[in-house]
Subunit: 322 residues, 2 copies
């Protein structure tokens, strides 16, 4: 009987979906027999003991932290892309609106000039996947013109326009709000560098809910210092020696808003939704040999800038200054 | 020729709408001849010198600050209800999402448990007018079940259900998010008192973009201290000796978010939208003798709790603690 190892305990609905097979939740002694590993992250020890391994299904949407070079040939990797689209799109909008309206600014003179209306403005979303699409749909509800940037541009619900990467610079200069909803891979790392950040309007609101390293850390910090009407919010941070964080004091800037990589974790219900999505995909793989979100190793393999964060929340500079 | 006095200069589109009449912008010596006053607020001197007065059109959506007892019989008052619906609904959502997701909470332990998903939850809007309806429409986009409370319940776009005041207590106990979008009058003052606040779920998010005095100041402050998972955000404040503010240190509470009555002022574009709406209503009045948003004095006259704020932004307790 096929053995599935899951590093986490699963909700009942996920267990039901995997009921035909032998499911070992949290029992690492089952790894040598496991054909499928359901995990957040994976290390060399786990890979070397999983002798029967056919597939890895991550609970996370991003797979940039996986050690692709250590994964044996023939083992498929499936991400959990799309499983967090709703909570992360809600979070993107929390950052957008916080920066547009100026919550908890108690200085009346600053607060009075702070609010910007979103209705009628232009929203640019980098990445037209699940999170990007949910973010764009909400943009339509706020009365915005929505543009997506995708490596594979095609009309998608929620977007008035989906353009290719060759349109990126043009669109960055037109946007009132830019949301980064890209995975981190060799195409996206450092995409928003200093020259592209320089293209943004002075009144642009930039929000990152993808991965920190898509935005150049020093470049955005310097831009926020120099252009005080530019506003930046992020839930995702950079690789600081294997930990997700920043060595720059972003929270000291008045035109910054942040959260410590919590967008996907909006309560137990969102975690369960993600685990059920992962289980459904594993069931599809075991029944058909194919499944959604198969990762192309070539997108990641040669990308030396891809970080491999350790577990835990971001280590943010000046964290003592709550 | 009919003379219209406007306390503010008007955008070109508003001037065009009033082109048939004599428009005096900012020229107070025109008040004795004026049949219509377009104003934010009005005092005894202005009223006593306006001998030909037929109508007052406010730029503000609320009229709770007007001295109704001083307005001569036969003079109609028109509010600017609906003119700020979009920016104020955006602002309501900025407060909702800030409180749902926990922006700028830098303590990882607190932040990790903070986010709540809105999708699938129940949104209750007190007031089904322009602001309430825009707020509810956005609630539908976020996948919420939307309920409105109105003195005149009837089906309205954006609401899954509109109920009467007799359903208020029942609905308060069911809601995950409550938005106050009511004008301040004898029906709404103190509506959310300590016994109604006690009905709210422990995990409820309460947001006020109507008028401060709809919510009992001491009652909500005490509830936030006692029930740390209850969350409250407000753009509007209380009458503190004729100034809008609070004597209580709301900003010291971790489950509070605030802004100093800036929701309607999201840039020059929103001010212009409001002035154009006021001008359109004045033109309608002068052409037909009737117009939208005619105020029923009886809703306000006997309401001794109605504050009359002086100009300026709220005076918030502990304002030095930015």
């Amino acid at each position: 009987m096929v053995v599935i190892f899951s590093s986490d305990s699963l909700p009942d609905e996920a267990r039901r979906l995997l009921g035909k097979w032998s499911l070992a939740e949290g029992k690492t002694d089952a790894i040598p027999e496991a054909e499928v590993l359901m995990v957040w992250r994976i290390d060399e020890d786990m890979l070397s003991s999983a002798k029967k391994l056919r597939a890895i299904q991550t609970f996370s949407a991003g797979v940039d932290h996986l050690p692709f070079k250590l994964i044996p040939p023939g083992v498929k990797v499936f991400s959990n892309a799309g499983a967090y689209s709703r909570p992360v799109a809600e979070h993107a909008w929390a950052l957008i609106l916080h920066l547009a309206k100026g919550i908890n600014i108690r200085d009346n003179a600053i607060a009075s000039d702070y609010p910007r209306q979103l209705f009628g403005k232009r929203l640019l979303v980098l990445g037209a996947g699940g999170i990007g699409q949910e973010t764009a749909k909400l943009g339509k509800a706020f009365g915005m013109f929505t543009v997506g940037i995708s490596r594979h541009p095609a009309p998608r619900e929620g977007f008035d326009l989906v353009a290719g990467l060759d349109e990126l610079n043009h669109e960055l200069a037109l946007a009132d709000v830019v949301v980064v909803a890209l995975p981190l891979n060799k195409y996206s790392v450092g995409l928003l560098n200093s020259s592209r950040i320089a293209l943004l309007k002075d009144t642009c609101i930039l929000v990152n809910v993808g991965r920190g390293a898509v935005v150049d850390q020093e470049a955005i910090f310097d831009a926020l210092k120099e252009r005080r009407t530019l506003r930046f919010g992020t839930d995702v941070w950079w690789d600081e020696g294997g930990r997700e964080g920043s060595h720059l004091p972003f929270y000291d800037l008045p035109n910054f808003a942040g959260t410590p990589h919590i967008a996907g974790g909006a309560g137990k219900e969102t975690a369960n939704v993600a685990k059920i999505a992962a289980a459904r995909n594993v069931a599809t793989f075991l029944e058909t040999g194919r499944a959604n979100n198969e990762v192309n190793f070539a997108d990641y393999l040669r990308n030396r800038a891809t970080p491999c964060y350790k577990s835990g929340r971001p280590n943010i500079a000046h964290e003592n200054r709550l």
